[in-house]
């Protein structure tokens, strides 16, 4: 890495065309893609929510499935953003050379990366919202305050898209992404309060969890779904925003090093 890779990004509105290109591809496969994205989180929600929920009176002051719903909204957003930024992003960057083609037009790598970031966040936004809608239909979302979860889903998507793009910039092949899923995504699923309240964890694990972005997404979503203002909302938003901005900046520098030789 040299200092040149870290020059501040300069964006143009042409990033929208990268986003539109990806949207057009997605529209072809929208229905199977949405069903695929929904199946996994809904299986967790129903399987654990009803199955395990029968044995629990209440968790954090609500039914277990209600507790789980807010967590699953966040974790499915994380999954969807990570998959799109890594597997699909890597296809476009490395396998199909779509980015190379775009860079011959009057777009810069900064524009392409911004388009990819916003696209992956948009796709994960649909996944997160779909889970939220299902939960609402099931009567698990008692308060209109849950509407505030909608922008939160997008912010969460940006944070995980940025992290995914870092992995894409470093990846020699698709296999590489398994490390990230095993070492980062799965631990976050289990440690960040999706399935059980954080205070069940030992203090050290709780401290680690506070550093992870999914914890902050769940800390915002769960009270909002239940109709309460999240107690540490400013901190939670700041952490997610910082993850989005910093990870994207790192991903951009790494991708400049990789492609602009």
């Amino acid at each position: 890495m040299t200092i040149k890779h870290w020059t501040p990004p300069q964006f143009s509105l042409r990033f929208v065309h990268v986003w539109r290109r990806n949207l057009l591809v997605w529209r072809r496969l929208a229905i199977p893609s949405m069903l695929g994205n929904l199946a996994d989180p809904l299986l967790y929600m129903f399987g654990l929510g009803y199955g395990l929920g029968r044995m629990l009176d209440d968790v954090g002051g609500m039914s277990y499935i209600g507790f789980l719903a807010a967590g699953i909204v966040c974790s499915s957003t994380m999954m969807s953003a990570s998959f799109e930024a890594m597997y699909s992003g890597f296809s476009r960057m490395h396998v199909q050379k779509t980015w190379d083609a775009i860079l011959n037009a009057p777009l810069t790598l900064d524009d392409v990366m911004l388009g990819e970031l916003v696209w992956a966040a948009s796709k994960s936004f649909l996944s997160g919202c779909a889970v939220l809608i299902v939960a609402t239909v099931l009567g698990l979302v008692p308060s209109p305050l849950a509407l505030a979860v909608i922008p939160l889903i997008f912010l969460t998507g940006l944070a995980f898209s940025g992290l995914g793009l870092i992995m894409t910039a470093l990846s020699p092949s698709y296999d590489f992404f398994m490390y990230y899923f095993t070492l980062c995504v799965t631990p976050m699923m289990l440690l960040c309060g999706v399935f059980f309240p954080l205070d069940q964890l030992p203090a050290a694990a709780q401290a680690v969890a506070q550093l992870l972005p999914l914890t902050h997404a769940v800390s915002l979503a769960r009270p909002l779904v239940a109709g309460e203002i999240p107690p540490t909302w400013l901190l939670n938003i700041a952490v997610l925003a910082a993850y989005a901005v910093v990870s994207f900046y790192i991903a951009l520098a790494l991708t400049r090093r990789r492609l602009l030789q």
Binding site: R14, H17, R21, T98, A101, T108, Q261
Partner: protein
């Protein structure tokens, strides 16, 4: 149209400690086809990437269509078309969509693009397949579509990086014919290739690059006249090296030996042919010297991998 469409002066580029472009100067004239020739690894593609502003030079100045590059590369690329070395068409789209989506990157309206696309499809000979997915296309069709895509912004200058590598002769001739049409329309072309025949047919001027430097520059016929004897007799056979020592060397100005083939360069081939004509143990071919002979003389015959 009087200013040079592209000038590069003193270009240098290092990858780590390895200098891949070592002080390259050249300028294109409006409406010409300029060829950058060189063996693999000579620095041709890097030179193109520098001129597109995709990588920054370590030294030197580039001006493309009046814009300094890389500072205003985005503005320069608005009026450049690029045919890359490897096809990077969008496999998720049809032929027509490939053109439309790519045109949007230039900020052109869909209305305008839809008006341009039929002509480009005709130019590429793909009008009847406009709504086909590109996976089903042959290599030649993909190259033609890539060429059409490079014209979607009606560029003044077109970069072609080894545009016919991997094509069969029919497909290659079609591409050459299309490139001549572009020249007729007044476009300026910058072509990299290692097919000397391609350069001789298309280029008004060529620069031969090796190890990151331009080692010769000029019109193809002028380079041949300047660097090499005008007639070549190629001699093949087991005893050819022996024949070269005994007879060839003393009757040609220059002989090059590779395995069992002898290349005799000369102004007067008559004595060589008189000796070879009656023989059954040697076969020969008499031809005019070509750009390939110049290229091999200047860059050597050893393999470049």
């Amino acid at each position: 149209m009087n200013a040079p469409p592209l000038t590069a002066s003193g270009l240098r580029k290092f990858y780590g400690a390895h200098e891949v472009v070592c002080g390259v100067d050249f300028a294109l004239r409006p409406g010409e086809c300029f060829g950058l020739l060189g063996p693999n690894g000579a620095g041709k593609t890097t030179t193109l990437r520098l001129c597109l502003g995709l990588t920054e030079p370590d030294a030197g100045d580039i001006s493309v269509l009046g814009r300094p590059v890389p500072q205003q590369a985005r503005e320069a690329r608005l009026r450049i078309g690029v045919v890359p070395q490897f096809d990077n068409l969008d496999p998720d789209f049809t032929i027509r969509e490939n053109l439309l989506i790519f045109g949007r990157y230039f900020g052109t309206s869909d209305h305008e693009l839809n008006a341009r696309i039929p002509d480009l499809l005709d130019f590429a000979g793909l009008a009847s397949r406009a709504d086909t997915r590109i996976q089903t296309l042959s290599g030649g069709m993909k190259r033609r579509l890539t060429l059409a895509r490079a014209l979607i912004n009606d560029p003044e200058l077109v970069f072609l990086d080894e545009p016919t590598t991997g094509l069969d002769p029919q497909a290659r001739h079609v591409i050459w014919e299309r490139l001549r049409q572009l020249l007729k329309r007044g476009k300026t072309l910058l072509l990299t290739t290692h097919f000397m025949e391609e350069a001789e047919r298309l280029c008004s001027r060529v620069a031969i690059m090796d190890h990151g430097r331009i080692i010769a520059e000029g019109g193809p016929r002028a380079l041949i006249a300047q660097h090499i004897e005008p007639q070549v007799v190629e001699v093949y056979g087991e005893i050819a090296p022996d024949w070269a020592e005994r007879f060839g060397r003393s009757h040609a100005e220059r002989c090059e030996i590779t395995g069992e083939t002898i290349f005799c360069y000369t102004h007067d081939p008559a004595p060589l042919i008189a000796d070879l004509d009656g023989r059954s143990d040697l076969r020969y071919l008499h031809r005019r010297a070509s750009l390939e002979d110049v290229f091999l003389k200047l860059t050597g015959r050893e393999l470049r991998d």
